[in-house]
C-alpha cells in the first residue's frame, strides 16, 4: 500500500504551485488544483473547513475535497487530535449524518457532503475506540482521565 499522500506525489515544481505552511491553506476564491476520480482538476475554493480529523476544501460547485488531495498540501498533513473534538461537535456530526441518511442521501456519491462527512466520522470513531497500545489511543485515555478527575472534584 502506498502511504505517501497524493499531494506529495503530484507536487509540481512551478513556483506558483509550491506552497509552504506559511501560505497554506489557500484563500477563498483562489483557483486550486486537486486530484479527482478522473484525474487532475481545477476549481474555485469556496471554503476550508475542519472536519473531525482533517480539513476539507469545499469548492464553488459544492464538491468536498479532503486536504490530502489538494496540490501543494504541506507534509506531514495537519490532523486534529481526537481530544480536540468536543462532545457537542461529535454529537452534531452524528445528528447531521443520521439526518442525511434519513433524507435518502447516498454516501457513495464521491466528493459530496455525505461521503465526506461519513469518511471523517468513521476515521474519527476508529481512532477514538481502536484497541489500546498506541499513542493516539493514549491521547483519548488522557482525555477520559481528565474528565474522570473533573467528575471526582
Amino acid at each position: 500500500m502506498n502511504l505517501i499522500p497524493t499531494g506529495v506525489r503530484m507536487m509540481k515544481s512551478t513556483a506558483k504551485q509550491l506552497r509552504t505552511e506559511a501560505n497554506w491553506p489557500p484563500e477563498e476564491g483562489q483557483v486550486i488544483s486537486f486530484k479527482s476520480s478522473t484525474g487532475f482538476e481545477t476549481d474555485i475554493l469556496k471554503e476550508v473547513r475542519w472536519g473531525l480529523v482533517w480539513r476539507d476544501f469545499i469548492l464553488e460547485d459544492g464538491r468536498v475535497i479532503p486536504e490530502h488531495r489538494i496540490s501543494g498540501c504541506p507534509q506531514p498533513q495537519a490532523w486534529r487530535k481526537i481530544s480536540e473534538v468536543t462532545d457537542q461537535e461529535r454529537e452534531e456530526c452524528e445528528e447531521r449524518l443520521l439526518s442525511m441518511a434519513g433524507a435518502g442521501m447516498d454516501p457513495r456519491k464521491r466528493d459530496q457532503s455525505f461521503w465526506a462527512e461519513l469518511n471523517q466520522y468513521l476515521a474519527y470513531t476508529y481512532l477514538r475506540f481502536k484497541p489500546a497500545g498506541s499513542k493516539i489511543q493514549g491521547q483519548e485515555k488522557e482525555k477520559d482521565k481528565d474528565k474522570d478527575t473533573e467528575k471526582d472534584r
Binding site: W79, L98, R108, L122, F129
Partner: protein, 88 residues
C-alpha cells in the same frame, strides 16, 4: 501493526487510517468499513463494561454504536442488489 515511537503523530495517524482503509473509503466498501468500525467500538464497549469503568466513554461508545448501526442500515438499503440468477 508495526509502529515507531519516533514517528510523528501526524504520520502515525495517516498510517493507522490508511491501514484500516479509512482515509478515503472506496464507494463499494462503505458497508464493510462501517462494520469494521462497529467491531472496534463494540470491543471497546465490552472492555468498559467488563471493567466497569469510564461511564462517560461507555455512554458515548454506545451512542456511536447506535449511530453506526443506523448508518449501516441506510447504506445497505442503497446497496445495489446482485442480479437474480434465475432471470439471467
Amino acid at each position: 501493526m508495526s509502529q515507531s515511537d519516533d514517528e510523528p503523530d501526524e504520520l502515525q495517524v495517516w498510517r493507522v487510517l490508511s491501514e484500516a482503509g479509512l482515509v478515503e473509503i472506496r464507494l463499494d466498501e462503505f458497508a464493510e468499513r462501517i462494520k469494521d468500525v462497529k467491531r472496534i467500538v463494540t470491543g471497546r464497549l465490552r472492555d468498559l463494561l467488563d471493567f466497569n469503568t469510564g461511564v462517560q466513554e461507555r455512554e458515548s461508545a454506545a451512542y456511536s454504536l447506535g449511530t453506526l448501526t443506523g448508518l449501516e442500515l441506510k447504506v445497505l438499503a442503497h446497496t445495489p442488489k446482485p442480479p437474480d440468477p434465475s432471470k439471467i
